[in-house]
């Protein structure tokens, strides 16, 4: 593919030894980020939004999420584990959170901090942002990083509708490091590790939209940690408290659909699932829906319990979180329960830390910066698309005939890679070999070979 400036980085990788180039992932990618080259799936970093869909659909488990080496935690004297409630939802209810946290401590963490403890203040920040922007009618939640990226690349006209507030894990990380530093810890001795349900959150930590400093030192994949803890739980009945163990029922429900919206008093919408998100954004862009207020959006069906690294069935995890929430009889708790939040200087500082300065559009559609050139390319693309068979077989290594037409005008593919167009020439034989590699059996091409 043509060399281009890279805006995004990703932790999603293709395991070339497992990938069979079956095209399943390519056809399911919402941004057309995947092509088959050399018989394997290849991702375009600027198009991928880390939705995790390719990984969910891959029948060969060939797509994986790179993670930080767990041993990294031992580089720090204070080892904080930031636990989202999605993690708790993975476990059967007979296990108390205290037992789960005891296992995390056994694994080497010194402090457990529940991320959703801070979400009420996140909603406060949303409210402040909304109050400051009377000119905006529809506010899109910044919570799901895959949604932010999807808007940047596919719906650039909506970037200004995103609330410019960083994620709850960042707030939790700031609060926790400050707390430890107040107790005398040195900044460089504190390591904060976030347990992620998805690839999008890893990208949000490692390649943030905002260029502000992150206080997250590493990210741990939820499935990895779940396996470890699950094994330990079987044989133990230890107890350990989270440093901030006082979640309300609404905090617990935050990662589920409607979790943000339920803490928000004004007009709100809650959209979950990739297809629903795409449809809603499409309609917002066309002004075909008039959504006034907060639009909560989660790329995953059922929200974060549907994250690609959440081991258990999302409906089961949802039920477990709802049951755990019901066990807590106090849904509400006075806001600003920390004395910290009563300090205006602290609030001013933390509000600044939590602000995203800018979300830039990175359209994946634009063919050329020069308009006249772009028109020429679009015209050619239309002609090529007409000439292609329209069966979307993907044998050319592109997800659809339209995508191949686009690749051709961009100089990333050749028309001879379409098997329908050019079946019996050496050029076609070479092109097919480039796409499909050694899997394709050699055959001799002669001029009268047109059976």
């Amino acid at each position: 593919m043509a060399a281009q400036e890279t805006f995004f980085g990703h932790s999603l990788k293709v395991d070339k030894t497992r990938c069979l180039g079956c095209t399943t992932c390519m056809r399911s990618c919402p941004t057309g980020a995947i092509r088959i080259r050399g018989g394997k799936a290849v991702m375009n970093d600027n198009k991928c939004v880390d939705c995790g869909n390719c990984m969910k659909v891959c029948p060969h488990k060939a797509i994986y999420i790179q993670q930080d080496d767990f041993a990294l935690i031992h580089n720090y004297e204070y080892r904080v584990c930031l636990v989202p409630t999605t993690f708790i939802g993975q476990f059967e209810e007979k296990f108390k959170t205290r037992e789960i946290y005891a296992c995390l401590k056994k694994l080497g963490f010194t402090h457990i901090y529940e991320v959703e403890h801070e979400v009420e203040y996140i909603v406060e920040l949303y409210n402040k942002y909304i109050a400051k922007h009377p000119e905006i009618r529809t506010f899109i939640s910044p919570y799901c990083p895959a949604v932010i990226r999807l808007i940047q690349v596919r719906f650039p006209s909506l970037v200004d509708n995103i609330i410019k507030v960083r994620a709850p894990f960042e707030l939790a990380a700031h609060i926790m490091t400050n707390r430890l530093m107040d107790e005398g810890a040195k900044r460089e001795d504190i390591g904060v590790f976030y347990v992620t349900p998805c690839a999008a959150k890893i990208a949000a930590v490692k390649y943030p939209v905002s260029n502000k400093e992150t206080r997250i030192n590493g990210v741990i994949n939820m499935d990895f940690l779940f396996n470890k803890v699950q094994l330990m739980l079987r044989g133990s009945n230890n107890n350990a408290e989270a440093i901030n163990h006082s979640l309300t029922s609404r905090d617990i429900l935050w990662p589920l659909p409607g979790g943000e919206a339920s803490l928000f008093n004004g007009s709100h919408y809650a959209v979950d699932g990739l297809q629903n998100v795409l449809n809603f954004l499409e309609r917002l862009e066309d002004e075909a829906v008039d959504a006034q207020g907060l639009v909560e959006m989660r790329i995953c069906d059922q929200g974060c319990v549907g994250g690609v690294l959440a081991t258990n069935n999302r409906f089961v995890a949802r039920k477990r979180l709802e049951d755990r929430a019901h066990l807590l009889d106090k849904p509400d708790r006075p806001l600003n329960r920390y004395t910290r939040y009563n300090n205006p200087d602290f609030c001013k500082w933390i509000d600044e830390q939590m602000e995203i300065d800018e979300i830039t559009p990175h359209s994946i559609y634009k063919l050329d910066d020069n308009f006249a050139e772009a028109i020429k390319m679009a015209e050619r693309m239309k002609k090529i698309e007409k000439a292609l068979p329209g069966v979307n077989c993907s044998a050319c290594g592109a997800p659809s005939c339209a995508a191949l037409a686009e690749d051709i005008v961009r100089g990333d593919a050749d028309i001879s890679s379409c098997m329908f167009i050019n079946r019996h020439t050496q050029a076609s034989e070479d092109a097919i070999r480039d796409i499909w590699g050694d899997r394709i059996k050699t055959r001799t091409i002669t001029n009268d070979n047109n059976e």
Binding site: D286, Y365, L367
Partner: protein, 137 residues
């Protein structure tokens, strides 16, 4: 560049195909989002009118480096009183059309608002041709 689309009478389900195809092209061309939005809103309304109030027709789209011109031509009853039709809230939409969620009488006013140039030629009993222009700069 030039595009042609067919509009089928009474087919609300497929409505919007022309405007989404135009939207995709304008995104490929790197047209400013605000102008894409104006274009799509106007074209969609004109398409719906040809489906709802007339007997279908054609859409012709021409794009050059400074503007997009969209001509929506239908065979249909025509518009007897254009001034009235242009008024916000005026609608002769049938109950069936209203049931589909259209017929608020805001279509033509919205087209006017979102385009830089609007020409409506209509002959009662023959048809209506709506010509809309959006400039990119």
């Amino acid at each position: 560049m030039h595009y042609t689309f067919e509009i089928e009478r009474g087919n609300f389900t497929d409505a919007g195909q022309a405007s989404s195809s135009v939207k995709r092209t304008l995104k490929h061309l790197g047209v400013a989002p605000a102008n894409i939005k104006r274009t799509v809103v106007a074209l969609f309304e004109a398409e719906i009118n040809a489906i709802a109030h007339a007997y279908g027709g054609t859409i012709d789209v021409d794009i050059d480096d400074e503007k997009i011109v969209m001509v929506v031509a239908d065979t249909g009853p025509g518009i007897p009183n254009l001034d009235l039709a242009m008024q916000e809230g005026w609608s002769t939409a049938s109950p069936e059309v209203r049931e589909m969620g259209y017929g608020a009488g805001m279509g033509l006013p919205n087209i006017k608002k979102n385009t830089d140039d609007l020409k409506i030629e209509s002959t009662v009993g023959v048809g209506t041709t709506v010509t809309m222009t959006v400039f990119f700069a």
